[in-house]
Each structure stands twice: as structure tokens, then as C-alpha cells.
Amino acid sequence: MTLDRSISKVVVAGGGLAGWSTAAALKRRIPMLAIEIVSSPPPADSIVDRVISTLPSIMDFHADIGLTEADTIVRAQSGLRAGTLLDGWAAGRPAYVHAYGNYGHAIDGTPFHQQWLRARKAGEVEPFDRFSPAAELGRAARVAGTDSAVAPEIGYGLHLTLERYLQLMRAYALHLGVTERPAEISGVELRGEVGFVDKLLLSDGQAIRADLFVDCTGPSAKIRSQLGGEFIGWHRWLPCDRLLFATSAPEGDAQLLDRVSATAWGWQWRASSPASGSIGASYSSAHAGRGEVIATLPPSLEFAEIPLRQGRWAQPWIGNCVPIGDAAVAIEPLEWTNLHLVHSHVDRLVSMMCGSDFAPVELFEYNRQSGAEADRIRDFACLHYIAARRPEPFWKEASSIEPPESLVHSVSLFAERGRLPYYEEETFTRDSWLAVLLGQGLEPRRTDPLADIVPMGEATQSIAKYRDAVKTFVDSQPGYQQSFSSLGQHA
């Protein structure tokens, strides 16, 4: 038996950030593929093309495809982001920071949060996020200029200047040898056999064929949706179904932390980098009208509204069509996972690239991993709702739903003794989960008996010492503006 022939021609459909990022990555990492992009402008409901905040994984994506910080930060006018300040999620509690990096450090081999919980039971201790060097740097608008044992794992995401970044990605993809077909997709023709795309009909009257069609057309999944199959809706767990976006001019000082505030009907955000800013809201149309929501946002801005049906395809990859990013998983940008999912999907596609048979066993493993990943991102977003404590009807409903089974598993293990389970395909680290759980005031019934190995006095001393070390470290780091302009000079 000989194996199927290799895939040689790939069409990437969609000329937004998902499409150009996908085209560039595929061409760079599997250069023998002929990549053609149908570069229709991003559809009105594209989420990824409107969100300026990204996760630290974007840096790895850039490194994997050979882009430098001189390109992606300086030339593309991106800013840095250290995390998110979440406020108003739990009434009576202070705002908390979800930053990317370690929260505390292990004490005699025991997890920091267990010792922190013990210390809290015994007396006063500062909030959990005060032990995150990344969160503290973010609050102080400073950037880690040096490596430190106190902060071994800080990761920065970017604030994109969207049109600049898109230009960069397009230019890079073309430079790598991607061919561009500037046209709209006017139709999709299927093959006789079930689940295969034959060709795309284009607005220029031509048709385009390929071995593999990569659908980057946003939440409507223009191509993938023609092949049918189940779309798993998440509405009962993630009740927001409208997004409002506006781009704001940079105002005041650029912030390393985005602000995400819970409101009566959902939540709203504000992000600002040296070169751009973003303001928006995610809300439930069953609980508020557009006017009501707009009234809470700055009056001078023009807001675009897009409808959102959160969920994912049960089997994203079918036959010769694989959806990427929003086309595969539609989720509100609460934890800024939209572009992250594009990168993760492309990375998986590269690692699992099959042959022209599109053997079910190969697609099955791709779909298994992608599904598990999407579900854990859903769980992490849903955690914000079920852990919320606010009086409005929207929140009463949101926090009383029965969460997905895997989230129940995480939360009940945590509630018992502060333990978190391990899942394959987890996007957010244990410290990220802890930041939200503890930030919103969920606390385990008891601490882990293993933590008792450290005498209480020793534990509180170590906690206080670490807190001092974080302060000293943060105070000695350069300010964001200052380090940012020096980055510009080096590039």
C-alpha cells in the first residue's frame, strides 16, 4: 500500500488578519505548498480584525515564522500588554489583575497559592495578584528590562495597531511567495462525494480549485458552513450575543493593562497603546438594548455592532476544508483568545498536515485536539461568569447556570482543596486560573494537607519576603514609555 500523494495547493479564503497570518505561516513552515489567498476584505462580523489585544503566544508565533520584534513591534506600531485589570466582577471586592506569568513562587516545594491561603486564614495577607510580578509591573506601568529570579516567566502580549499589523502580515506573506487573488467569494461548489469542496466561485467571474481550502472568513465560515455538521452553541454558558467596537485615538498614557469591567448586561473594555486604543462592550441583547449600552460608552466614538453566536464546530475539519480562528470557534474577546486561536489552529494544521486522501484518522486527531482546546477556553471564559457576584438579573442568571462538566470538575476540585486538574490542550496556565478564581473571591474549603509541611511562621515569612522582592524588582524596572522609546531606537 502506498500513501496518498502530498497536498500541493492550498487556498486560504479571507483577507483579514486570520487569512494573512495563516497564509504566511503555512508558506513559511511548509514552503513546498503553493498558497493562494482570496483576499476579500474582512467581513463585518470578524472579531479578530477588531481586537487589538493579544496574548503572549503571539510572540512565539512571530518567532516561528521568522518575524522579528523590529517588524512586529516597531514597524507595525504595536504596544506591549501585560494583562487585564478586571473590575466589578465580584461586588465588594477590589479589581484584580490577570497577568501572564508566575503568581508567587513555590515555598519548600509547595504551591504558592496554598501557602497564601493558609496565611490568609491565619491573618492579613495582601491580595493574590500583588504577588504577580507581571501584574505589579502592569499596574506600575513598568516593563521588565532585566531577567530576575523573582519573575522568571513574564510574558507580554501585544496591542496591535490593526491596519499596520495587517499590512505587515500581508507584505510578509507576499514576500514568502503567497499569491494574492483580490476577489470576493461569491459561491462554493461541492464535489459529488460528501464533505468536499470542489471550487470557490469568485466575484471576478473565475473559479478557484485547490487540494485544501482553509476557511478564514470569520464567524460565518462561508466555506465550512456549506459542509454541514453540528455547530455546538455556547449561549447558555456565555450569554453575550452582541459586540460593540470602536477604535479610539491614543488618549493619555498607554497602558500595559487593559481594563475589563463588568456591567449590568455584560462587560466592557478599554485598551490603549502608544499608537491606538480600543473601547467596546460585550452584552446580552436579552438584557439590554443597543442604546442603553452605548449610553455607558464614550459619546464621541463611532461604534460598530456585530452579532455573535458563540460556539464551535463539533468537527471543524471536514474533508478538504479546515476553518481557522473565528470560523472554527466564535467566542467573545473576554480573555483575548481570538488571534491566539488563529495561531494555534495554524500551528496544529502544520503539525498535522495530511495528504490528499484527507484520511479520517488524521482529521479525527486534529479535531480532537482542537475541540478540547476550544472547550477549555470556553471554560475559562465561563469561569468569569459563574464566579461573578453582582445583583443584576443578567448576573443572577449567568452565575446560576450549570457550567460545562469540565468546568464543574475544575471548580469543584478547587473548591475542595485548591487543587486544579490537568487537561491536555489547556491554553491558560494554572496561575491564570488561580488569578481569576482567587481574584473573584472563590476560595477552597480547606488547604492542601501537604502544605502543612511548611511551618506557618516560615510560610508567612517567605510570603512577605517574596512580596518585598516583587516591590524592589518592580521599582527598579524602567517605565513603559521610556523602555518603549528605547526599543524603537534599537530596532
Binding site: M1, T2, L3, D4, S6, R29, I30, P31, M32, L33, V350, S351, M352, M353, C354, G355, A359, V361, E362, F364, E365, Q369, H409, S412, L413, A415, E416, R417, R419, P421, Y422, E424, R446, D448, P449, L450, D452, I453
Partner: protein, 517 residues
Amino acid sequence: MRTRNGARLAGEHMVNDSRLRVVVVGGGTAGWMTAAALTKLLPSRCHVHLVESEAIGIVGVGEATLPHIRGFNEKLGIDEADFMASTRATFKLGIEFRDWARVGDSYIHPFGTFGTGQGELDFHHYWNRARQEGQPVAPIDDFSMAVTMAYLNRFAIPNPDPSTIESTFNYAYQFDATLFAPYLRRLAEQMGAVRTEGRIVDVELDNETGNVAAVRLESGERIEGDLFVDCSGFVSLIMGNALGEPFEEWTKWLPCDRAVAVPCQTRTALSPYTSAIAMPAGWRWRIPLQHRTGNGYVYSSAFTTDEDARAALVGVVEGEPIAEPRVLKFKAGRRSRSWVRNCIAVGLSSGFLEPLESTSIYLIQAAITGLVELFPEREISPVDRDEFNRLIDAEYDWIRDFLILHYHATERSDTPFWDYVRTMSVPDSLEEKMELFRRRGRIVKHREGLFLDASWVAVYIGQRVLPEGHDPRADLPPLPALMQNIEDLHAQIRSSAERMPDHRSHIERYCPMMDAA
């Protein structure tokens, strides 16, 4: 079962602090590993009372271990050289499989990676490409540091610097399991574990809660506890007998149900690896210790008789047998749950998987780790219990598939046994894994736990499950450069292994056994 009525005997172990009274039933490897771990790691949470009977022998599972045991020993503060000397241990770099896919074949499943593990792709993709392009390329074994050392009978401790080729392997031990339990016993007793000698004749359940209340000994002594750890071996005194937890049998996939074991004198060099050699109705192990070599024939009673198996084994062992052959009976499978009410089954009382990949002690360790991490309060939370059972199930299921692969991926039809395993149907989860590898050499992702990618690669390729294609990225390096790299790697591994000390001389310097009995 009796209930807790009538006179309450004041157990000598009654305590009035808040610590849980843990009763460990059985003093074999599982029992003493549990007792040592609990006394060391949770001194403020429990008292450990172990009950064992010297009249009941121990199975002494797992003379061969996996690298995870080093983590266990470290946590217990065990000094490696002292432990190795006391248990007459040798180093283990992997397992050699002989005659599995075809008679005459052999390969080693190493503890470590193939190649440096540093490239964009795992080494086997490049190896595959070279092979598929008809290039003369050495067997994949030769690109493993551990395998190369093993075949040369060399050993050295891995280099902690991950940029070196000497960091790409790991190791475990081969030891005398009948000496490991007493070694741990000394440790556990020093740390406060209490031991009672006696045969258990009754398990008392509380008639209100259904929990285990106490065990009663032949002597009439009654030992109460809050938590019972069943380490009673195959008999599964509490979990199986008293609580009646069902046993899920996997005999249709893993048909071996007997083993005959006999130690013999060592006639050859001291190999730093265990061997698993295919036999007409199963396979036999060969485990070299400092003072002797352990041998055993694991077979299916449906395909041979005890007498024939014994004769077959005695006929092939290399040296003079130094004990009477001993027969063990077992069934592959596991209890539906390993933690039920206030009883946790650890070791053979929870399930059995044949020692083909030396997983017995690993499974004990996994259960102990789970118990320590999820150690309950007096009132047991179902959340903790369910999580424990989920973790143990996942371990068993993953290992099960890996073991079945060894049998199923064969071309042998020369005996009814091999023909059966070759043609039997296997779990869908394994079928998918094999098919995925067969196409482009890909491994189903599994990041945490046992048997990661390199293990599957070793066994697939060793058993002639060869990919028909390869990852397209393996085509990126120009062929001459790729072949040069492959040759350089081969030479580098070879010369590094040749510079390492001989296994026996390393042991004689580092951890010679104390009495040459």
C-alpha cells in the same frame, strides 16, 4: 460481613488527636511504599498502622522499574547508593524486546529520546524520510543514547545540561523486590509507622455508613481505622472481598494469565536493561541484578500448560536455577474503582497489568501520589474520591493500550498464541493510534504521565509498524545535509557511549551490595 456491634475493643492504636488512623492491609511492596510515603509526607495528618502476615508470601512485583521511581525515592529522602546496595540493584536504561514482530527481531524501548530532541520535528520523522528515500540508514535504535549504552553495557548518570547528548536519556533500577519492602519498612518504622503481625480473618463494615470499620486478626485483635489502604495483593481482601467492587477483565486483549518465575546465576555481562523475550505462548523476562538474574515466563493458560511452561523456562535460562520455580496466577484488568468508601486499593488489589513494561511499581506509585495529593479529612469528599478514580483509570487505560500494541503489532503466526494476538480485535483507541502512526509517523498527543512519544515510536518501529509517509517538514533539509547530520549524530552517540564506564564497574564503585550472599 460482621458489623460493629457488641463490645468495642480499644485498639492499641486509638488516638485522641485529629489525625486519621490509616490502616494499611498487607506488607508487600505496595504496603510498605504506602506506609513510608504517608509517614514521611503527611505526618500531621495521619498515623499509619500496617498489618501483615509473615505466613503470606509477597508477590514482590516489579523487579524492574521505570524512571519515575527515582522521584518517589527522592521524596522519601532515600540515598540512591544505599538503596541500590541494599536491594542489590542494577541500573536500567530500557527494555529489550526479542522475537516480538518476527523471530530474530530485537529492539530496545529506551528511557530517553531518539536524536537530540531539539529539532523542529522529532528525529524519527527525518529517519523515516531517509529510509523512504532509500538511503542507507542505521536502525533507529542507534540514534538513542540509552540504547547504545545498553548494548555496550555502559552506564553513567545523565548530564543535567540539556544541550548535551548525554542529557537525552533517563534511567531506572532493577532490584530485588523482596528486599525493597523490608528496606522501606525500616524507613517507615523509623518515621512512626506501627506494624502488627497477623493474619486478617474478618473485615468489619459499619452497618450505618457501609464504611470499613475495622479488621480482625486471627489472634482476635481488632484494628480500627478511619481509612483503609488495601495492599493485600491479588486477594483484594477489602476492595474485592469485603466491598465487592467489580473487576473489569481485559483477558481478551491481554490473554496471559500465569507466570512461572525462577532466579538463576548470572552467566553474562551485567546488562543495564531488562529483556522481554517472546515465547510460544507469551514471553519471558530476564532481569539482571547484582547477585542473580531473575527470570519468568508469562503465559496464557489457554495456550500452554503449567508443566510445559515451566519446562520451557528452565530449558532456556542462562545459569543454574537457584530456587524452585514458582507459579503465579492473575487476570489482566482493574477494579471499576480503586477508591470506594473509606478504602483505597493500591497495587495488585486494584488491578493487574502484566510486567511487560515494568508498570507494576509505577501503578503503586501513581495510586500513592493520588492518595497523598487527595488525602481526605475524616469526612471523605466525593470530589477527592472521584478525582482519584479518574486519575487511576486514565493510567490503566493508557498503559493497557500500550501493552496490547506489543502483542498485536506482530507478523508471527507460528504458534496459536501469536496468531490469536495478531488477529484479535483491539480497543478503538489503540486502532486509531496505530493508524495515525502508520500514515505519517504521528503520535497521539499525551503530555503528562507515562509513555510519551519516544516510547510509542520505539515500540511501533521495533514491531515493524512503519510509517508509509512522513511529516512534510522532514523534506525541508536537502538530502545530503540531512544524511550528514544523521551520520554525525550516530557517530556522536557512539563515541559518547564508548567513553562511559562499564555498567558492572560503575556499580562496584558506587553501590556494591553489602553481603555477597
